[in-house]
């Protein structure tokens, strides 16, 4: 399998503060790499650097043997944490998922039959076809997350970046997302994903990386989990586990 992402001594600074320190990373096609680490460990920063949203202060980052920004439009699909957008924006679920087609469309070209088919397929794949006409402000957290992932899939990307997609979603949604992402990986999609959920790591990922500005451990999920490299991180995960339980209840009431 070809290499999808390769980072060499990747160093990122925010206003002089070191966010990532000489991170090395390789992701092959058809592989899911999980990134765990405490809050502020630079997990999200790593995804943004791979997406080409942040310029490295040192080292290099290659996506399919080129700089991230040099890839043809539509190549990289990035799914941030859901809080990031204005949910009162005038758009329904279909409108949002259809935006995934925009990077691949020429100016003035109409929305083609193929575009509509891809959007419909993405909606169905994430089981939100029945929500297509619903305004985005009327979605639960899990539904918002699924709409965003559907938009990423509608883009027909070559690389999928997921920033904590399981935070704030219920157990059923988590399982559905996991099956869906594993299906993409089985078809060759490279997936880079951050998470707080260590319990499911062996089911989600082919490889797992513990990051706290530097790479603390990297390898098969079971091996990394047993190595104790995340000993200090486990406490974090626990506090988050409790927070998540509350979030599930809240969303269960919405659903």
């Amino acid at each position: 399998m070809a290499i999808a992402v390769r980072a060499r001594d990747l160093t990122v600074r925010y206003d002089g503060v070191l966010a990532l320190d000489r991170v090395n990373l390789t992701l092959d096609e058809g592989q899911a790499l999980g990134i765990v680490g405490p809050n502020g460990s630079g997990k999200s920063t790593l995804l943004k650097a791979v997406a080409g949203l942040i310029a490295p202060a040192g080292g290099s980052i290659h996506v399919f043997d080129g700089a991230p920004r040099s890839q043809p439009p539509g190549s990289i699909a990035y799914v941030p944490q859901v809080e990031a957008v204005d949910w009162s924006f005038p758009a329904n679920v279909y409108d949002v998922v259809a935006m995934g087609r925009f990077p691949r469309m020429r100016a003035l070209s109409p929305f083609s039959k193929h575009d509509r088919e891809v959007v419909d397929a993405a909606l169905e794949a994430l089981h939100i076809g029945d929500l297509r006409n619903r305004h985005i402000s009327q979605l639960s957290g899990g539904q918002q997350q699924r709409a965003f992932i559907a938009r990423a899939i509608a883009q027909e990307p070559r690389l999928l970046l997921l920033d904590e997609p399981t935070t704030g979603v219920d157990a059923a949604t988590e399982e559905a997302l996991r099956e869906f992402v594993r299906g993409l990986v089985a078809h060759g999609m490279p997936v880079l994903m951050t998470t707080h959920d260590l319990e499911r790591a062996t089911e989600w990922f082919d490889r797992l990386m513990v990051v706290d500005r530097r790479v603390l451990a990297e390898g098969a999920p079971a091996t990394v989990l047993e190595s104790g490299a995340y000993a200090g991180i486990r406490e974090h995960a626990h506090t988050h586990g409790h927070l998540r339980t509350d979030a599930i209840q809240e969303h269960a009431e919405h659903d």
């Binding site: 206003d15 925009f102 965003f148």
Partner: protein, 280 residues
């Protein structure tokens, strides 16, 4: 009766004023949709005030006022974008810094003149009845340019307005799109100066779009409704001002403000009985 209704149209200057009102009303409220959704309501005001410096500089140099206003407006708009990215301050802070700075420059330069014959009142409050044939040509050309670019960048602009980070990751040149929008805004403001003036142009940018937002939750409908409301209010406001013997810019703005509150109230009543609005 018919004669009385058509009375305003018998004057050529009124005919020109109606054309200007229609174009400016439609253009401002179209681009205003992006202004409202991106929460840039302050920006029209900012660019308009900044363009005052351009008017004074143009006067000093014997240039056309609108060329001076356009240059300073575009530079201020680009400066706002640049300062936001570079200084890592919020957009409204960047606007606040640059527009007061440019406006102060205008006042400073004017205060040093022993005498001046700039029609200050005209620029501050607009004088749509003074729109000349050449002005109409300029307004039509610039408006056509702004509309053409808006159509050309429709999808990237929509994506960048809703979710700039994901749009950029997917390969859309978001910083470029943002700068283009700012330049289009600057041109729109300059076109509108003669019609509604520096002080009131912000209302035409914001109020029709805010009204449309009360009436729909779909982007395309909001865009179309906003343009329609802006166009109708601009023409109707001008018409009303003729009979009320009132300032046209102020009458237009009062009318869109009235329509906004009507839309707000009507939404309130509709939501109560609306089946699609149940909370689940």
């Amino acid at each position: 009766m018919i004669d009385a209704l058509l009375a305003p149209f018998q004057y050529e200057f009124m005919q020109r004023a109606f054309v200007a009102a229609l174009v400016v009303g439609t253009l401002c409220s179209t681009i205003g949709t992006y202004v409202v959704l991106r929460k840039l309501s302050f920006i029209g005001d900012g660019i308009a005030h900044a363009s005052f410096a351009g008017i004074v500089i143009a006067y000093l140099r014997g240039m056309d006022y609108y060329v001076g206003a356009a240059i300073v407006a575009v530079l201020t708009a680009l400066g706002i974008g640049y300062v936001t990215r570079r200084a890592k301050v919020s957009l409204d802070t960047a606007i606040g810094v640059l527009f007061t700075g440019a406006f102060a420059l205008g006042v400073f330069l004017m205060s040093r003149l022993p005498t001046y014959n700039i029609d200050l009142q005209g620029f501050l409050f607009g004088n749509i009845l003074a729109v000349s044939r050449a002005d109409i040509v300029l307004i039509l050309v610039l408006a056509a340019l702004v509309f053409a670019v808006l159509i050309l960048i429709y999808r990237p602009l929509l994506y960048a307005s809703f979710d700039p980070v994901v749009a950029e990751a997917s390969g859309i040149p978001v910083p470029l799109i943002d700068y283009v929008l700012l330049v289009l805004l600057a041109l729109t403001v300059v076109i509108s100066l003669e019609a509604v003036g520096i002080v009131l142009v912000a209302a035409l940018l914001v109020t029709p779009a805010a009204t449309a937002y009360q009436l729909t939750r779909r982007f395309r409908r909001m865009l179309a409704l906003s343009a329609l409301i802006g166009a109708i209010c601009a023409v109707a406001g001008l018409y009303a001002s003729y009979y009320l013997h009132a300032a046209s810019g102020a009458t237009i703005v009062l009318l869109v403000t009235l329509v906004f509150f009507m839309a707000m109230v009507s939404k309130r009543y509709r939501v109560v009985g609306s089946p699609g609005r149940t909370t689940e």
